[in-house]
Amino acid sequence: MEHQDENKAGIGGMINPRRYGIERVAYLLMRLSGLGLLAYFIGHIYETSSILKGEVGWSEFLELTQTTEGHAILAIVIAMCVFHTVNGIRVMLGHGGVGVGKPARPDYPYEPASQNARHKMGIYSAIVLAAVAMLYGLAVMFGE
């Protein structure tokens, strides 16, 4: 018998943010921001290694990043970093049982106690703080 993956929807199912509310959007943003930050981190390690080429090599590489596009990418990185941090703390607290409500018998309409207003506020706060941090970053980078 041919082997079939349990995860039949694949990447399409994983990145679909619909049907499950803001928690599902947070799940997607957490993964996207995580992957984005890992890509930036690897790029940053490579970028900083250009200092080994001396002042000329450092300045040349820095010129590539000190452009409007470079600043825009850095602003997105700041937003990803803040969202990932704030939402990550929310997830950690949730895993530790903080703010997820008390265990109770599942009664109609079967609303999960863990998906409550406190955690929704945490997600919206993460999005707002990410936007504010991005704007602050843009002000610092373009203000000079």
């Binding site: 890992l38 390690i45 900083t48 290694s49 200092i51 450092w58 000190q66």
Partner: protein, 114 residues
């Protein structure tokens, strides 16, 4: 290693990295952003041993957290004994490679080998 222990490491590295990255970013803002990235300033940062040590710790913490996060995402996507082993060992190898590459920069600049 048990997944519960791996997740504790994942969360521990995250919390430690948040604190240290905040210091790293604040160092850029103590001077002007562009000024702090001037060659001489960056060299001085690397030669200041406590700061170089902090960069090394950030490198290790973020590499562990980042590649474990990637491993978790890839394991959510697909399962299977061979696939899971390949993903886990691949992420550990990439993590070691990145730590080695970043440490090389920190050590060489700190020891004045440029």
């Amino acid at each position: 290693m048990r997944e519960s222990i791996i997740m504790k490491i994942h969360y521990g590295t995250a919390l430690a990295a948040v604190a240290l990255v905040a210091v790293h970013v604040l160092m850029r803002l103590t001077q002007g952003f562009a000024e702090s990235l001037e060659y001489q300033n960056v060299i001085a940062n690397y030669k200041f041993l406590p700061y170089a040590g902090m960069l090394e710790i950030i490198l290790i913490l973020l590499s562990i957290h980042g590649f474990n996060g990637l491993r978790v995402i890839l394991l959510e996507l697909k399962q299977g004994r061979a696939y899971e082993k390949a993903v886990s060992y691949g992420c550990v190898a990439a993590m070691i490679g990145l730590i080695a590459y970043g440490s090389r920069t920190i050590l060489m600049v700190n020891m004045g080998m440029i």
